[in-house]
């Protein structure tokens, strides 16, 4: 009798979990396309423009050539056969016809054991810190080096020669399956772990589909080292900071939420607002002029999962959201763009500067649209 009850309960539990999963994959969803104005694709980028950071003068850094150790074999084969390389591009959105430039990366320390190597460089999240005393820009980039643990790379930007000098690598067991980074100082940052598992694809898929909340936010400062400031999240992806550094925004993709934290003196994070999103946000880019947030999102999850497995065959719907903030809290949300995946697949980042909307994708194109609608 007890065995029957136990079996029935387990079956019911498994059933509701499967239904929840199927629902969150979005097979029932359909939306119509719309754009803020005429759009064009950048011919230079074929394989990803996953994350952005925009400076107050319109200079925007774009990471390209994403690959993660937990991606599928089919994806890795496609990546190597197409000769894709990890790279960082820069563009200036201030000019009417934004032109893309690939940055040369100079490695100070040779690629010895654990050192930085361009061959294994697969950039993801990016954040820029402007040091007012030294007058230089430090770029913090999430790197998924081939067959090694995820880490954060630090580069110094030389605007005269458009080069990046690699200065430091940040590694630690607390940095698991990294997604994004937010610089808070010359040598300090927050980083998001999208998942706990970072080596085995099988366990990664298990963790993903079990919907276990093992995602977290890690803080690193020179004084306090690496610490887990927020834990128990459901796939945290993008992380952004408000203009004055008072608030931290964490995107939960599978959790379909945005968490707003207020930042303490000691860099601790206190939850201030939970904003339900009903879509899956990837990264948030701060508008350096207005302080608003622009989000690249994946509205139909199953399309994105298939797209990242086989980009040549599957398209994924893209969506750009514009969030307005009041005293740190999100108070309004508008959809700037929706595309069925034909113009751009798997939008992961977006920013509006000077009436131009730049939309980036995880492993697809880079698109610029004129913004003819009120922002």
């Amino acid at each position: 009798m007890y065995l029957k009850t136990a079996l029935f309960s387990v079956t019911l539990f498994a059933l509701q979990h499967i239904v929840r999963l199927i629902y969150s994959l979005g097979y029932h969803l359909h939306f119509y396309q719309h754009y803020p104005g005429p759009c064009r694709q950048f011919p230079e980028i074929e394989f990803g423009s996953g994350n952005f950071y925009t400076l107050p003068d319109g200079t925007t850094f774009i990471t390209s050539g994403l690959d993660m150790n937990v991606f599928s074999r089919r994806f890795q084969l496609h990546y190597t056969s197409q000769g894709v390389e990890g790279a960082i591009y820069v563009t200036n959105l201030n000019s009417s016809e934004a032109v893309l430039r690939k940055l040369d990366i100079i490695v100070e320390i040779a690629a010895e054991e654990g050192g930085f190597s361009l061959e294994t460089f697969h950039p993801h999240g990016i954040s820029v810190w402007f040091d007012t005393t030294e007058g230089h820009h430090s770029l913090f980039v999430v790197n998924h080096p081939t067959r090694a643990d995820d880490r954060i790379e630090k580069f110094l930007f030389d605007p005269a020669t458009f080069t990046l000098h690699h200065v430091k690598s940040f590694t630690n067991p607390k940095l698991r399956s990294l997604h994004d980074v937010q610089a808070i100082g010359e040598d300090s940052f927050y980083a998001t772990n999208i998942l706990h598992e970072h080596r085995s694809r099988f366990f990664m898929l298990l963790e993903l589909f079990s919907l276990m909340p093992w995602s977290s936010v890690i803080l690193y400062t020179e004084e306090t080292g690496y610490s887990e400031v927020v834990s128990g999240l459901m796939s945290a992806t993008g992380i952004a900071m408000s203009k004055c550094g008072a608030f931290i925004y964490v995107m939960l993709s599978l959790g379909s939420q945005i968490l707003v934290y207020s930042r303490g003196e000691d860099n601790s994070l206190t939850l201030q607002q939970v904003f339900p999103l009903y879509t899956h946000p990837d990264s948030a880019v701060l508008d350096p002029v207005t302080g608003d947030l622009f989000i690249g999102a994946h509205p139909i999850a199953h399309q994105y999962i298939n797209h990242v497995d086989n980009p040549a065959k599957h398209k994924a719907a893209s969506q750009v959201l514009h969030l307005r903030l009041t005293e740190g809290n999100i108070t309004s949300i508008t959809e700037l763009l929706y595309d069925d995946g034909i113009l751009i697949s798997g939008s992961s980042a977006a920013v509006v500067y000077n009436n131009t909307l730049l939309v980036g994708s995880s492993v697809d194109k880079l698109v610029a649209c004129k913004v003819n609608v009120p922002i």
Partner: protein
């Protein structure tokens, strides 16, 4: 019922409510020089109570795209005593455009619920006095409920029979909106009587005619489908040439002035629309609004892959959008019982 549906808001430009709109703006018909005739005062429960309480009735309003700031004005109707203007509850509207003198002929569906009659009123517009003269009343079979109308020729029009409704009560309306039973069809009135010219559909709603009168477009709400029919000289039966599943419940259809696209107003979250129709004047019962642009090819068929969502609102600016018209980079959006919105692209 769209319980799990919902999208994010976006506008094609600067959108504002239009002055002078009070009891909704269920349907619109337009002229090539920017005039729009709008029906207001459809007798849904809350609105009907308000109309009786304030001693007002359904009206036909005029909006001018060339002067959007002026808002809408109620058109004065000169009529014989037999026409009971107090009981007027207009629904669909269409016109036969007079491009020479501007004396357009309007046909308006009028539901006389108190007497259980379904009528189509014929008016002539006088551009000099900006008044309507009531010409005649066409009586239709009252066991049906008619929704939208599009003029074909003088005293000839296509009219959507929303459902077979021998009993026009709120409960019956609610049932029709819950279960997509095929109780309606598209009718053609040939001057003397109206006959069904298509097979049965569940709640046919909006109807539009291509400029060359060769194609009839019809949106069936509960079926979430757009039907495209080809007309023949006799207008006896239409033949179906295209069927597009939209996935949303469409309301009224209008062509763009250039004839290159259809504008379909939709109710994206239908269960909210059901509550809105029952308690239209309650601020909590708002319903999201959306307008789709369905481009038409040179062959008269709709281009399904290029359908764009022009407008989406959560219901705060406009609730329950039922119709849209475009002119010269402007969009006018009407609702069943809520505001009238003008967007400047």
């Amino acid at each position: 019922m769209d319980v799990f549906s919902g999208s994010f808001k976006h506008y094609p430009g600067e959108c504002k409510k239009v002055k002078g709109a009070r009891h909704g703006s269920e349907d619109m018909t337009w002229t090539h020089d920017g005039l729009v005739f709008i029906t207001t005062g459809l007798g849904i429960p809350d609105v009907e109570k308000h109309l009786l309480a304030t001693g007002t009735h359904g009206e036909i309003q005029l909006f001018n795209f060339k002067d959007p700031g002026a808002g809408v004005i109620n058109l004065k109707i000169t009529h014989r005593k037999e026409f009971d203007i107090v009981k007027m509850r207009p629904h669909g509207i269409t016109l036969l455009e007079d491009r020479v003198k501007g004396e357009h002929i309007l046909y308006v569906i009028n539901h006389l619920e108190t007497e259980d009659r379904e009528l189509v009123e014929k008016f002539r517009f006088s551009p000099s006095t900006r008044q309507l003269t009531h010409l005649k009343t066409i009586e239709l079979d009252s066991s049906f409920f008619f929704n939208n109308i599009v003029a074909f020729a003088d005293d000839q029009f296509y009219i959507t029979n929303f459902a077979y409704m021998p009993y026009k009560g709120v409960l019956y309306h609610a049932l029709i909106n819950l279960f997509p039973i095929k109780l309606g069809s598209l009718h053609f009135y040939n001057g003397t009587k109206s006959v069904a010219v298509t097979e049965s559909h569940a709640t046919p709603n909006g109807v539009a005619l291509s400029p060359d009168k060769r194609f009839v477009y019809m949106a069936a709400s509960m079926e979430q489908t757009l039907y495209v029919y080809k007309t023949y000289k006799s207008n006896a039966q239409l033949s179906l040439v295209q069927k597009i599943y939209l996935g949303v419940k469409g309301d009224n259809l209008n062509l763009t002035p250039q004839g290159d696209a259809l504008l379909l107003a939709v109710h994206p979250v239908f269960y909210k629309m059901v509550f809105h129709l029952l308690w239209a004047l309650s601020p909590e019962c708002i319903s999201p609004s959306s307008v789709l642009r369905i481009p038409l090819g040179s062959d008269g068929l709709a281009v399904e892959s290029d359908i764009t969502e022009l407008f989406y609102d959560y219901g705060e600016l406009i609730s329950g959008s039922s119709v849209a018209a475009a002119y010269n980079n402007q969009l006018l959006i009407g609702s069943v019982a809520n505001s009238l919105v003008h967007c400047q692209a």
